[in-house]
Structure formats: structure tokens, C-alpha cells
């Protein structure tokens, strides 16, 4: 799954998701914007879907990561257990180091 490149992040790095609402197509759900999680998997680079959505070639490729969040850090009144988590696949432009 991994391309041979040096990812900017490592597994377990603590990251925050950028809290922005761009006009165009993006696949970052609202509920994890601004939230803090950690890198759970490094998936390699993919053609940029935010460009591809408008017929562009999607280059340069973007690094994709699985970010894992504690549910209690995502939802104010999470009704489940403290150890429950939520995983979301996000592109590098959405992630910043904490």
C-alpha cells in the first residue's frame, strides 16, 4: 500500500484536523474538523480528489492517512464508552501537527 516516499508523519503522531470549510469538493467530514487525533495508518499517495472532482489530473499526488480519534474528543455528549474510537481517512492538506 505504501509508495516509496518519506511520509511527513509517523504512526501515533498527534495531529489536529484543520477547521476550514472550502467551497469546493472535499471529503473531510465536518465533525472532525478542529479535532485532535493520532495517525493510525499511512496509506501512501493518491491522486488529489479535490482536483479530480473538477476534471483535473489530480497531480501532485497527496499523502493519505487514517486518523483515529477518541469518540469522547469528537462529540460533546458521546454516549458510548471512553475507549471507543472513530477512524477517518484524510489527506495531508487537512492535517497539522500538534
Amino acid at each position: 500500500m505504501k509508495d516509496s516516499y518519506k511520509p511527513d508523519y509517523r504512526i501515533n503522531d498527534r495531529v489536529r484536523i484543520k477547521n476550514v470549510y472550502p467551497q469546493g469538493h472535499h471529503r473531510t467530514p465536518w465533525f472532525i474538523k478542529g479535532k485532535i487525533g493520532h495517525i493510525a495508518a499511512i496509506y501512501g499517495k493518491f491522486l488529489n480528489p479535490e482536483q479530480r472532482a473538477y476534471g483535473l489530473d489530480g497531480c501532485p499526488k497527496q499523502a493519505l492517512y487514517r486518523i483515529q480519534f477518541k469518540q469522547k474528543n469528537v462529540w460533546v455528549n458521546y454516549l458510548g464508552e471512553t475507549q471507543d474510537t472513530l477512524c477517518v481517512d484524510l489527506y495531508e492538506r487537512w492535517i497539522e501537527r500538534v
Binding site: H25, F31, P49, A53, G58
Partner: protein, 100 residues
């Protein structure tokens, strides 16, 4: 405010409706058409999703699932100049006449 398609965590207290319907012919066609168009490089999945997300809010919520896809396919084909709204409309009129 999240876009209408960005659905996680929206208020919803209703039990999940477990009814399932068998797909109709046009629905199979609607799901298969993007596969063929993708294989030919005419559209890609990201465009298809963008097309669905661009459906006006009220329409998005009122439309059943397959209708949203059909709408997106149609608007993309028009956007790319492969078909025009006029010729689709003419063909629909012809088809309806044929069926009746």
C-alpha cells in the same frame, strides 16, 4: 454549517429503517453507467460525488438515493458537452411516446 451531504452526527432519533427494495432496471443502469464511463475515462468517481454534492439542499434531501446518482450523471454529461439538456428532453419525449 456542513454541506447537506456531510451527514455524520446530524440530529436523528429515528430507528434505522431496515426495509430493502429490489433494484429496478433503471437503477441497475444508473449504477452501471458510471462504471462504463469511468473505464473510458469520461468521468471519474470524484466528479460523480461532486455532482451529487452540488444538488441543491432541498432536492438532495427529497431525492431517493438512485435519483441523486442519476442527476449527477446527467449534469456531468451536460457539463462535459457530451449531451445537451435539449437532446435529453427530446429523447425522453420520444421514449414516452414509444411506451404509450
Amino acid at each position: 454549517m456542513p454541506n447537506v451531504h456531510d451527514r455524520g452526527g446530524w440530529p436523528n432519533e429515528e430507528a434505522i429503517n431496515l426495509d430493502n427494495h429490489e433494484w429496478l432496471d433503471w437503477q441497475w443502469q444508473t449504477q452501471a453507467l458510471p462504471i462504463v464511463l469511468r473505464q473510458k475515462g469520461i468521468i471519474n468517481s470524484d466528479e460523480l460525488r461532486r455532482g451529487i454534492e452540488s444538488i441543491p439542499r432541498d432536492d438532495y434531501e427529497a431525492m431517493p438515493y438512485h435519483d441523486r446518482w442519476a442527476t449527477s450523471i446527467e449534469s456531468l454529461l451536460i457539463e462535459k458537452g457530451i449531451l445537451t439538456d435539449k437532446e435529453i428532453q427530446s429523447k425522453v419525449t420520444e421514449i414516452v411516446r414509444r411506451w404509450n
